[in-house]
Symmetry: C5
Subunit: 363 residues, 5 copies
């Protein structure tokens, strides 16, 4: 898949007329490919002039029109007229803030969802819009490059059921392919969490924590992305639209199962992330405790001894002890006694027990 | 939009008769504008004498009466009689504590919602009330200045569908404009959170935290404002009132979608805020740890050495070491040995490993 | 409203016969007032002998019997027989642990709720029980003094609709008056939270925290009180009992709206309280950090210098440096160099940057 | 009530045949008492030989068979055959892990619940099973001793309605008695929380915290016990079984109210516990802060002074200050100036303001 | 049960054709055993050639085909054709990420669930798939070894009802056996939590915390495993499929009860884990506090005294005190006074009160 870019969201002026397409001039211009097929039909081509499409509608059992790039409002408007799409649905195509959803406009079904990918260790989400009509599927993507090639390949090779089924099965195949592509993304986070766990059990530092925060943040937004995907898959799987046939519903239910699995995975990784965070913080706490113990032991032993030495360093003329023969040795003895006394007191308080080997580690 | 002021909430005496209008004398006096139109009709004027309204009702396909300012109970009462509004709905107009809601009074529909704006970096919420009747929309605002000018412009220019549709579509257009105006407000908080994140990754201090608390607080109250907006939009989109026609319902459903998006945005920013807070606190924790380490290393190395120096600073007469030729150098040697010994012990314990560059940062 | 006292809850022996009235002997004895009215009727008097009531039932359009004090089981029992109340409902009247609720006993409707007031900065909750019959309302309060005087006044002055409506509207008016009286209580907490915020931004201490805990605790119990009030108001507003007429239902729905507003206010203050708590704790954390920094800077600069001074305070005979001409000045120079070196190192580490003015404060 | 013992749970081998009774040999052997009554009938006796029961079924309006002790599988099996109980229900009787629940087996109704008591400050939960048939109630308890004596007393004295009603009213009376007995248990925790609060406001230590944890733990498990009790009471109160007559349903609804009250009490105590915990932790934090301040003030004032003293304690030959007449007094003066300077700096920083009296305490 | 291994999850290429079996080559090859029985029939054998199965279908009242190992796609595919299974169900058999669930494919019922066991103190979860047809049950396990032997034994011995009932009762027996086997797993965690509690009350260290984190993590994932098990059991117990007869539904409801109990146990252990964690952290906090107190007491007493000693260790020529007769003793006296003064001040502040014996411990 070629390198993708994050599109600037087009600024929508508040109070704009409903149904207005808000297109940013920096977006890629639309590139249209069609794939038309039936049990005995097959046509694949890139469309240069949009009017080439006019004659194709209804001629094939299934017509899949894929549009990469939303940078030209008139093209989208024209497609809307050609396929009789509702202006609000078209507005949603260019508004890149859509949650995954299904809108039933009777003559066609609008579905929006996010296509995820990892690029340079960063999460990349692209909005994909689907229109399902009686014998067509129309898809809009933000930029070129997608995870739908296996479906194209199956159509080309007449593999699987896709060539014998109607447009609804194509819609299912496309959504299934996009949902399947979520799994490797989630697994990438699983790997990162395992790396982080190892770091935290070893020598964690601020960088570890920064990374952990970033992973948790991504997982939270993944969960927010997946939640409506599950709803969308459920809405499709229980759709009462005549555009979706009962055999396809069984397959869509499988899609819904996968969406639920994804949501649980995201939830589970997020919990692992939180748990690692707690673990990290309690390690810091423990370590601080240990540092404090070292400081306290040293200071508590030597500060009183230094005081005694200071006393006998005073320059008073009349300090009888200074003139005794064994004064020095007695004082040294007292110091040694005090020092070891405190040392053993700390051992007694359990501040100096050797660290147990942490042979057991969280799994 | 001109500078707005926050109105004092009128104090309502407990046990007041239901339907009593509680109006604060400091509130602006009502200023009334009308906009009446139909496919071939158009009238726009400011109403100086409220009785000018009497003859206008029913003469136009749609009559929009907008009242800015709630500071005169008798005007509101008069409008209530003119448009046959329920006293409880009128009471709600002047009670500035309303949650967004829809009340169906059969002959008309009462809708309350909050209009948000940012003024001098502060969130400003103004209550707007709508009454929808068979051929009128009556709106009440706290003060002059609103985000509805694009709708007015469209009516004046006979742009869009608004001139060919009934009052229900006008209600939709107004609510849609107000909901659209929430997006820039939320985006302002997004920008602030990004600034805060940068500060926290750099040199956070108490001021950063104060600001973060204030942003979190605002987002929490935004969420509390948006929650009933979503309910209200849902109630309108699924309304069974004969005052709302099926084509308008499709548009209201789009409104509901936007309200859901807003709520998710607010939720997501709030989570980012919490996550930044945790990040800030764990940074503080980390830094405290580092400070403690510096203190402990210095104190632990030098306190024992100072003790040794103190011992040989004692003035006992009989201290044999003092009189040896190399005593001083031996003691200096022992001190150096001890000092470096502890230093290397700290290196061994990993207290002195250089900080890893935090080239990875949360996104 | 006169000073109220908190009643001891009567101890109920487990396994007591259902319907047993558990009355504590220290409770005030019942004092009964009646207010009977209709469009052309009016009677208000204090009842000394309970049998005065016998003849009054059914003679007036609405008969309101108010009982202040539950300290006499036989009076309550007698009223129960007179108005044909279910023994379980009577038991609930004297069990002061009731959640707000509505019980439909077909011939009458039992409603329990809490009446709140602030006395000497303390929250005071009193249980009020209502029985609604075809032409009577019977209310039980723990002690004298309530917030229902505005309703009494309206009846006396024949103001508002109350005199033309039936007993159900009286029930609504009473409940509405009690719910209205919740608002000033909640606002008192709002004021306290604002005071606390100021203290926390200024010089917070243990007393601030104690107060904050107490406010949070009160708000939590307020929320627990308000939750069932909302349910109760909802149950009344959607009641299918023939005792409540449809016009009154519209008013009860307004009550329900107020209950929802109250719950949201309580929730919002509680969140503000939690947020202040977090703010307080993170301030403490910050301050500890600053204290540690001061300690560390002073100790880290002077401990090594003191060690050097200690070395040259040793009394060895053979210490060549002591006898050089400039030894003292060289050592002083080295000390100054070391001291300032560490000082600038701390500046470099950012431990000594001046505090930014916290001109931005949470709102 | 005599001293109870906690029974060992019988180990159930995974994969055992459904309906197998798992009985631990250390459990007390069953002791059977019957209480049979009707408006004009009364029989109470201890059953030595289980076959005595055969003739009694159906002869009395209500037959209550109470079994204390589950230590003999054959007795339970025999009772199961006699009263035509489902094997799965019998299995539940001996499986001491049951949540409170109601199972409707058409010819009879199985209800399980926990009977709580406090023994030596410890929470004790015993499983009680009820079978309700057309004219019998069969109860199983783990050990002898229960809170049902008031019900027995009422039957013996023909007090209350119990003697005129059917078996369903007896079931209600028993469940009501058990639920009533929860209140004193919860109140015991209320008392403990108040004691703990006082300790925490005074001189909290590790023992306080241990106790607080133990109370919180108990309250959490109480809540877990009460949750299904509420469900069970609700299921009974809305049961459609012909075994429960409508008048009894009204009483069972009262039971459900009590269960809801209990759950709210437990919830409220649990929140108080959490709040005390937070309070305790923030006190610790505050106190640590104060300790650090004392340490820092002392160390910061005296460490630099000691350094100065150390400098003039050095033994260099050429130290001109030592030989001046007023050197000593000048140095002492400088020291005093420095010391007081730092002291006033700390006062200026607010580290030495006297503690405010915490006359306000959490309630 | 023999030692199990954790299987690598087969990587599923995104966009794969739906119904594709993804089988990892390292998985064990399928080993098939059959157990066919009826009231008068019995056959048990290992199947070497898969075609042996062809003739057996329909000949016995119940045919149980158990497949251990999923390492050969063609075998699974063949079984799918033989028993007329849906390709999506077969795909689920090999996708080891299934949540427990029930899918109704009309001619058969697909059930997936996890079989848990503890091996070397580690939690081991294996996916088991069940297909229920009119007279067969087909089970797929990841590896050999299961907890179903008691069921096999009962069939062999014609014990219990299993031999007189249809395939649905066999399905129940198998699921019941697997759910029963969850209890010992959960109890193992109960034991570990008790051990951990003892450690935390004694001498907790980093290793304790690591273990606690690992236990909490396991309990969280157990809960995540059990949640869908409960749903699955509920779906079976309320299934409307004709494949499950009403008497079996009663038994399945018992299964559902057990699943709910398991979930509550897991929840309760998880809460205990969290509570132990909090307890541990607050112990650390307490201990840190105590360490700080020791350090502060020692430093605060001796640092000023050392300063005084340092002053009289200065070598100024003109220090009058040095030459007085009792100077030394006066200074020593002052030091003692200061030292004890501070000591008693600390006692007064309560920093030196002896630790109360923590005879009360959390239960």
């Amino acid at each position: 898949m070629k390198k993708k870019i994050r599109l600037k969201r087009a600024t929508r002026k508040p109070g704009m007329m409903p149904g207005t397409l808000t297109v940013d001039p920096t977006w890629p211009k639309p590139a249209i490919q069609i794939l038309a097929y039936g049990p005995d039909q097959y046509l694949e081509k890139r469309i240069a002039d949009i009017h080439e499409l006019d004659g194709l509608i209804g001629k094939y059992q299934v017509l899949w029109v894929n549009v990469d790039g939303l940078g030209d409002a008139s093209t989208i408007q024209y497609l809307g007229q050609l396929f009789k799409l509702h202006p609000l649905a078209l507005e949603d195509v260019t508004s890149l803030r859509q949650r995954s959803k299904v809108d039933d406009y009777e003559t066609n079904l609008y579905t929006a969802m996010k296509m995820l990918s990892m690029q340079d260790e960063k999460l990349f989400a692209e909005q994909v819009s689907f229109f399902l009509g009686p014998n067509f599927v129309l898809t809009f993507q933000e930029v070129e490059g997608d995870c739908l090639d296996p479906v194209r390949e199956r159509i080309r090779k007449k593999g699987g059921m896709v060539c014998n089924m109607n447009a609804d099965y194509l819609l299912y195949s496309l959504i299934d392919a996009i949902i399947d592509a979520y799994f490797p993304v989630l697994e990438a986070y699983d790997v990162r969490l395992e790396d982080l766990e190892e770091e935290i059990l070893g020598k964690p530092d601020q960088a570890t924590m920064n990374l952990l925060f970033s992973v948790k943040h991504d997982l939270t937004s993944l969960r927010r992305t997946l939640w409506p995907v599950r709803e969308m898959a459920g809405a499709l799987a229980h759709s009462e639209s005549p555009l979706i046939s009962p055999p396809t519903l069984v397959y869509l239910r499988d899609c819904q199962d996968h969406a639920v699995q994804l949501l649980e995975l995201a939830e589970s990784y997020r919990e692992t992330g939180s748990s690692l965070m707690d673990f990290y913080l309690s390690s810091i706490s423990n370590r601080m405790n240990e540092i404090m113990k070292v400081l306290t032991i040293i200071a508590t032993i030597f500060i009183p001894l230094t005081f005694i030495a200071g006393v006998y360093g005073m320059n008073f003329e009349n300090m009888p002890e200074l003139h005794t023969r064994d004064g020095y040795f007695v004082v040294i003895g007292i110091m040694a006694f005090l020092g070891f006394g405190m040392f053993f007191w700390f051992i007694h308080k359990g501040w100096l027990t050797p660290k147990r080997k942490t042979h057991r580690r969280p799994q």
